[in-house]
Point group: none
Chain length 197, copies 4
DNA sequence: TGCTAAACGAGACGGTACGTCACGTCTTTGC
DNA sequence: GCAAAGACGTGACGTACCGTCTCGTTTAGCA
C-alpha cells in the first residue's frame, strides 16, 4: 500500500503536535477559561497565526487535542456478559475523566455551550461514535436474549452516559465501582420490587 | 423593645432586579459567552460598579438570575403514583429548559467548569435542594412499597437527572414525553427480560 | 451697621480645617494629580459631600489651603534700600516654595491651566495682592529717586516674579541668594556695558 | 559595509502621525485635562494599546506632539544687534504661544508638575536646547562688546524667558511688542536712574 | 429642655476613563 | 511559501474617582 501523497507546502506536523500538546497541558493544568490562544502559541513555541491558520477557535483546538486521547475508550469489550462489559467500559471512561483529560473535556463542553459549530463537531466526532459502539454492543445483548427485546436502546444509552456527564460537569466526583454497580443494577433490574433476581 | 436598626445605606432593589432581568434576557438571547458585564450594565441602565459591588463574576450574576426562575420546578407532586409524579416533574424541568432559561442554565454550567466557587454555589443552591426534594419523594415511595427497599436512591436520582443534563449540555433536544416514558420504564422495570409487568 | 446675619446651621469649622490640612498634607506629599477628593475626605475624616458642599473643585480646595500659608509673604519691608528690600522678599518667597507649600502651589497652577475660574481666582486672590504690594513698594522707590521715573513698573514686576515662577514650574531648583543677586543686578543696572557702578 | 539590521516588526509611522496630530488638535481645542487618551485614540482612529505601547502617559504624547511644533522657534537670528535679535525671537515665541500650541504647552507644563519623568524630559528636550541657543547668541553679544563681560548669562536668560512663562501660565495675555520692549529696556539698561542712553 | 432643621459621616448610585489583556487580522523577515 | 514574530484596531476586563443622591445621626439655636 503506497504512502499517501503529502501536500507540496504541507503543514508542519511538528507544530501541530506542539500545539495540541500545549493545549492539553495548559487546559489540563489551568482550566479552559484561563488559557488563551496566545498562551498556547507561546507554550508551543509557535506563531499565533499558525493556530489561526488551521483551527477556527480555541474550542476546535481543544476538540482535536481531546480526540487523540479518547480513541481507546470507544472500544467495547464483548465477554458475553453485557452488564460486566458495560461496567468495564464505564469504569474506563470514568477513570480517564479523572485525569487531565477530564479538565480538557469539561472545557470542551463549556465551550460548546456557546459555539454551535463546536457543539456539532463534538457530537459528530466524539458522542456519535461512542453511542454507536455502545448501541452495537447492546444490540448484541438483545440478540443473545440478555436484554428485553422491546427495550428503548437510545433511552438506555442516555441513561447510562447521562450519569457520567452529570458527574463530570457538576464536579461531583466521578463514579466509582460501587456507584457504577448501583446504576447498572437499577438500569437492568428496575427500581420496582418483586422482580425475581 | 426598640425596633431593629435598618441598614443606613442599603442596596437598590430596583438595580438588582434590572440587572438580573437584563442577564436573563441577554444570555437567553445571545448566549453566555457573547454577553459581557458591560452589556448587562448597559442593558440594565446601571453602572458597572454596581454589578461588581454585589457579585464577584458574570457567573454569579447568572446564578442569581437563574435562581429566581427555578423555584417553581423544585416542587414534587404527590399523587400516590411515584412514576407518574416523576414524569410530571421531569417534564416540567425539560420544558422549562426549552425556554430562555435553558440557555441561561447552559451558560451557568459552562461558567462553573472554570470557577470552583461558582460550581460550589451551583451545587448548594440549585442541585442540592432539587436532589433533596426528589429524594424525599422517592423515600415516600419506598415507604409505600412502590419502590424496592434496597434501592440506591442517590443512584436512581443521578440516573434520572443525568439524562436531563446530558441532553441539555450536548444540545440534543430536551426529552419529550415519549423519551421520558422510555427512561422511566427502564429505571423502574429494568432492561433485563423476564420481569412480569 | 448691623452684624451680618449668621447662618442658623452654620458650617463646621473643624471639618473645614481638617479638609484644608489634609489637602496640604496629601498634595504636598504625593503631588496634586495623585490626590483625589475621595482621598482628602478619607484623610480628613469627612464625608465627600461636605467638600462638595463648600468647594466646586479640588483646585478650589487647594487654593483655599494655599491661601492661609501665603499671607505672610505678601508684606514688603521698607528699609529705604529698594534693592535690599526686594532681595529680602524674593528670598522669602523662594524659600517658602521649597517647602510643601511649593508642591501645593505647583498643583494649583497646574489645575488652573484647565480651569478658567480657578485661574481667575488665583489671579484675584494671590497674584493681584502680591503685585499690588510690590508695585506700592516700587512706587515709593521711584518717589525717593531710587528708580528711574520712566520705568515700566509692570514690566519690572513681571521680570522679577517671572523668574520665580519659571524656576518653580520647571522644577529647576528655586533661586538661591546669589542667583537673586544676579537677577537684581541685571534688573537694576542693565546688561549693557558702560554704566558706572 | 553591512546594512544595519532593521527591526523586523516596526511601528506604524502613519499611526504615530495620527496620534500626535489628534493630540495637538484635541488638547489645543479642549484643554489638556479635558482630553483623555481614549479620546485621542478615537480621534486618531487608533487602538488605545498603540498609544500605550509607545508612550508611558498622556503627558509624554503631548511632549512629542509639541516637539515637532517647536523646532522653528529655537533658532536665533544674528543681525549684529543683540537687543533687536532677542526682540525678534521673543516675539516669535510669544506669538506661537498665542496659537493652539500655547494651550498644548500649558497642558504639558501642568502635567509635568505631577510627573518628574515628564518634567525631566521637558527640560532635556525643550528647555535646554532653547537655553543653549540663547546662551550662544548672548555669548556672541559679549564677544562683540554689546553686553557687559561680567554679566550672568543664566540670570539674564531666566529673566527674559521667565516673563514669557509667567504670562503663559498665569493666563495673563502673552507679551505684545511694547511689553517686550519694556522688558528689554529694563534688562539691558537697568532700572536705576543716571545711566546715559 | 425639648424641637427642628441644617450640616454631617457614610456610602450606594450612574458614569467616564484608566491601564491591561486577549482577540483575530495583517505585514514583515527568515528559513 | 509556510512559519516566527509581533504591531495593529477592537473591545472587555476590573478599578478608581467623579459628582449626585439618599440615608440615619449629630448639633446648634429657638421656643
Amino acid at each position: 500500500m503506497p504512502a499517501a501523497s503529502p501536500d507540496p507546502h504541507r503543514r508542519s506536523e511538528q507544530s501541530r503536535r506542539a500545539i495540541l500538546a500545549a493545549t492539553v497541558e495548559l487546559v489540563g493544568d489551568l482550566g479552559y477559561e484561563q488559557v488563551s490562544i496566545e498562551a498556547i502559541a507561546r507554550q508551543a513555541g509557535v506563531g499565533k497565526q499558525t493556530i489561526y491558520r488551521w483551527w477556527p477557535s480555541k474550542g476546535a483546538v481543544t476538540l482535536d487535542a481531546l480526540d487523540e486521547s479518547l480513541d481507546a475508550v470507544v472500544d467495547f469489550p464483548d465477554t458475553g456478559d453485557i452488564v460486566a462489559d458495560l461496567r468495564t467500559q464505564m469504569l474506563g471512561v470514568s477513570r480517564l475523566l479523572t485525569t487531565r483529560v477530564g479538565r480538557v473535556y469539561q472545557g470542551l463542553v463549556a465551550a460548546a455551550q456557546s459555539d454551535p459549530r463546536l457543539s456539532r463537531a463534538h457530537l459528530d466526532r466524539v458522542i456519535e461514535p461512542a453511542v454507536l459502539a455502545c448501541r452495537r454492543r447492546l444490540a448484541t445483548g438483545v440478540e443473545r436474549g440478555e436484554l428485553r427485546a422491546d427495550i428503548d436502546l437510545q433511552g438506555l444509552i442516555d441513561l447510562l452516559y447521562g450519569v457520567i456527564y452529570y458527574r463530570l460537569l457538576l464536579h461531583t466526583r466521578p463514579l466509582d465501582d460501587d456507584q457504577i454497580d448501583a446504576v447498572l443494577e437499577i438500569a437492568f433490574s428496575g427500581a420496582r420490587p418483586g422482580r425475581p433476581r
